[in-house]
């Protein structure tokens, strides 16, 4: 019997992908990546060696495409140590104001000791064919053009206002932020932005933070379940597990026909195949699915979520080198969103020898929820953004735990939820 050679396995996979242009993905999203990470976690190949293979075939793909640009990519960096997140007082605004002939949604205000950050969103007209939608290329795309607005709080403080570094382009909208320097009263109840008043909502949720050890599992088992839980950012498309499974079976790290594979495939078959915003409201049959997947998929398609917003400002302890802060939760009929900060920035793909971070949530009724980053920006070492969780929050739940699963531990922000009678913003 020929000994398994992970380098040969990956390169042969690369050859097949090269012969199938539908399978080719650019750069870090190479279709080789999943199999490479699987073989790394199985100890069959070193991460840097596996990356050479990915990079070789990225180059081979590029020189067949006629496209300009870099012919290869450096490996994704391992997560690095970042400064601790500072607690920020958070106020939800969620109010549209007129700016320069259009409307801008002023989303929220984060208050720090020496200023704050005001986030806004401007919806764009649908771009026509060939039109570039990027904010920086659209004349008049900045809502305040070249001069930031004048801002005053309810206590009479008038911070210096500059355009911030954060923000991003989304599907049909652009997010931006204004950096405020100077005092903002923590107890302020409103802001005036160029004379338009917006209210600062401050209903604070009660929360606790902590760290829990993850269930003791083999590295291969944890790897596969984790990849099933981590969807493509923004779209929410589930990772295809079969290339990972096939690599592990070929390497002898996983047995075809094992109980684990049966459980994985049963769950994978029921995971939503469509991007988050295109999912149909359908309930799946989930008997026999292992937890937490059974309870996650059992409520898929629910549309009975309560509608409220809670301000948190909870900073979880650093967990396996990663820290996150939950600033607010907004629940709606089919899911809920958490405005979060995370350090270091977890954007992009993880290194081949690191588990991607998964964002689970659970309630006191043993329901589970999965989070997908849907937008955000980078701020120095950290990132901020919006995490969209599915399915809808169970309206009977009294407690919600937001879980950031890293390597062997998970950080927990445990939030007391409003009673039913409070379910109004």
């Amino acid at each position: 019997m020929v000994a398994f050679d992970a380098g040969v396995y990956l390169r042969r996979l690369g050859e097949r992908l090269l012969d199938d242009s539908d399978q080719q993905q650019p750069g870090h999203w190479s279709a080789l990546r999943g199999a490479a990470a699987a073989l790394v976690v199985a100890g069959a190949i070193a991460a840097d060696e596996a990356w050479w293979v990915i990079d070789d075939y990225a180059t081979a793909t590029r020189i067949r495409s006629g496209k300009p640009g870099f012919v290869h990519f450096g490996p994704p960096l391992r997560r690095h140590e970042a400064d601790s997140l500072m607690p920020r007082q958070f106020r939800v605004i969620d109010q549209e104001i007129p700016v320069g002939g259009g409307q801008v949604l002023v989303r929220d205000l984060a208050i720090t000791a020496d200023g704050g950050t005001l986030r806004y969103r401007r919806c764009l007209d649908a771009p026509g064919p060939g039109q570039v939608s990027r904010l920086s290329r659209r004349p008049g795309g900045f809502p305040w053009n070249h001069t930031p607005p004048d801002i005053i709080d309810s206590d009479g403080h008038r911070p210096e206002v500059r355009f911030g570094d954060g923000g991003r382009d989304g599907e049909g909208y652009v997010d931006g932020e204004l950096a405020l320097r100077g005092t903002i009263a923590p107890e302020a109840t409103w802001l005036e932005i160029d004379g338009t008043r917006v209210d600062l909502h401050g209903r604070m949720g009660r929360w606790e933070v902590g760290i829990e050890a993850l269930e003791d599992r083999s590295s291969v088992e944890r790897f596969l379940w984790r990849h099933l839980a981590v969807a493509r950012p923004r779209s929410g498309i589930t990772t295809a597990l079969e290339p990972l499974i096939q690599a592990l079976v070929a390497a002898g790290a996983l047995e075809e026909g094992s109980l684990l594979l049966g459980d994985l495939r049963a769950v994978a078959a029921r995971m939503p195949r469509r991007p988050l915003h295109q999912r149909r409201i359908t309930r799946a049959s989930t008997p026999g699915l292992v937890e937490p997947w059974g309870s996650l998929l059992g409520r898929l398609g629910s549309d009975d979520g309560p509608e409220w917003t809670l301000v948190l400002g909870a900073v979880a302890p650093t967990c396996d080198g990663v820290q996150f802060a939950a600033n607010s939760i907004t629940s709606d009929l089919d899911g809920f969103e958490v405005e979060f900060d995370v350090a270091p920035n977890l954007g992009g793909v993880s290194a081949l020898d690191e588990l991607p971070v998964a964002w689970w949530a659970r309630d006191d009724l043993e329901n589970h929820y999965l989070g997908i980053p849907t937008g955000g920006g980078v701020r120095g070492d950290s990132a901020q953004g919006t995490m969209r969780y599915w399915p809808a929050l169970d309206p009977r739940a009294k407690r919600l735990d937001l879980l950031m699963c890293v390597e062997s531990h998970q950080a927990v922000v445990s939030v007391s939820l409003p009673e039913n009678s409070e379910n109004n913003r």
Binding site: E15, D56, I63
Partner: protein
């Protein structure tokens, strides 16, 4: 014994050099700057004058890169796999280790004419010899060599059998071992040596008269005996081609 380049026709490329159009020719396993009578002397003179001689630069790059199996990873897998690159539109990260040489390889693969095909034929011949005689890097590069053989066998079989999704399992055997290609329930099992690349594939003999060639022998470089299989993979037969 015949030379590895026997049966592979010459190839030329035009190079703008010193204000003229020069010819660089590959012939009999060697790259020649046709318009430069004393390459070594000219290189020395050009270096003294702080100038470069494009024809001779091409020769130097060739000699540096032809022995690297990375050539086989990047080069075309045959007529159904054309490269489409504008070397001046590509960008290279010189900070990355190993990649400093990649631009050189890609410049050779973008050289035009049949020169890129001759480059990969040269690389395949070099590693066929090294597999036979031994080489310090053999274990390191073996995955690349196996993949180079696999990718070309895969394309050849899929096109020949008209099955774009055909599954191919390949065992890279030694040059004296029994070559075989058999149908299985999942696809095709192939046992071929790496030398199939320079001996058969690089000579354009992989599919001849609609039959798959698994070996090609010659004693004089002109008369070739091909060992071939029909699409059923059961009827091994040989025939001779005289190229004179």
């Amino acid at each position: 014994m015949t030379h590895w380049w026997a049966g592979i026709p010459p190839a030329e490329v035009t190079v703008p050099c010193g204000g003229d159009s020069h010819t660089v020719r590959w012939e009999a396993g060697e790259l020649i700057a046709v318009d430069h009578g004393d390459p070594e002397g000219e290189v020395t003179a050009a270096a003294r004058a702080g100038e470069s001689v494009p024809c001779l630069e091409l020769l130097r790059t060739w000699s540096r890169r032809a022995g690297h199996p990375h050539v086989l990873t990047l080069a075309s897998r045959g007529p159904t796999d054309p490269l489409n690159l504008d070397i001046d539109e590509l960008r290279f990260d010189y900070g990355a280790p190993r990649r400093q040489t990649e631009e050189q390889t890609l410049r050779l693969l973008a050289a035009g004419g049949r020169l890129p095909d001759r480059l990969q034929a040269t690389t395949a011949a070099i590693w066929t010899r090294r597999l036979r005689t031994g080489h310090a890097q053999l274990e390191t590069v073996r995955p690349q060599l196996e993949a180079a053989l696999y990718g070309r066998v895969l394309r050849t079989l899929r096109a020949w059998l008209g099955e774009p999704q055909l599954a191919v399992e390949l065992t890279m055997i030694g040059p004296e071992e029994q070559r075989r290609i058999v149908h299985t329930t999942d696809g095709v099992d192939v046992s071929l040596p790496f030398s199939w690349l320079p001996d058969v594939w690089m000579r354009g003999l992989a599919v001849t008269f609609g039959r798959l060639c698994i070996a090609a022998d010659t004693t004089d470089g002109a008369s070739w005996t091909l060992h071939t299989l029909g699409p059923g993979l059961a009827d091994l037969s040989q025939f001779t081609i005289d190229t004179r």
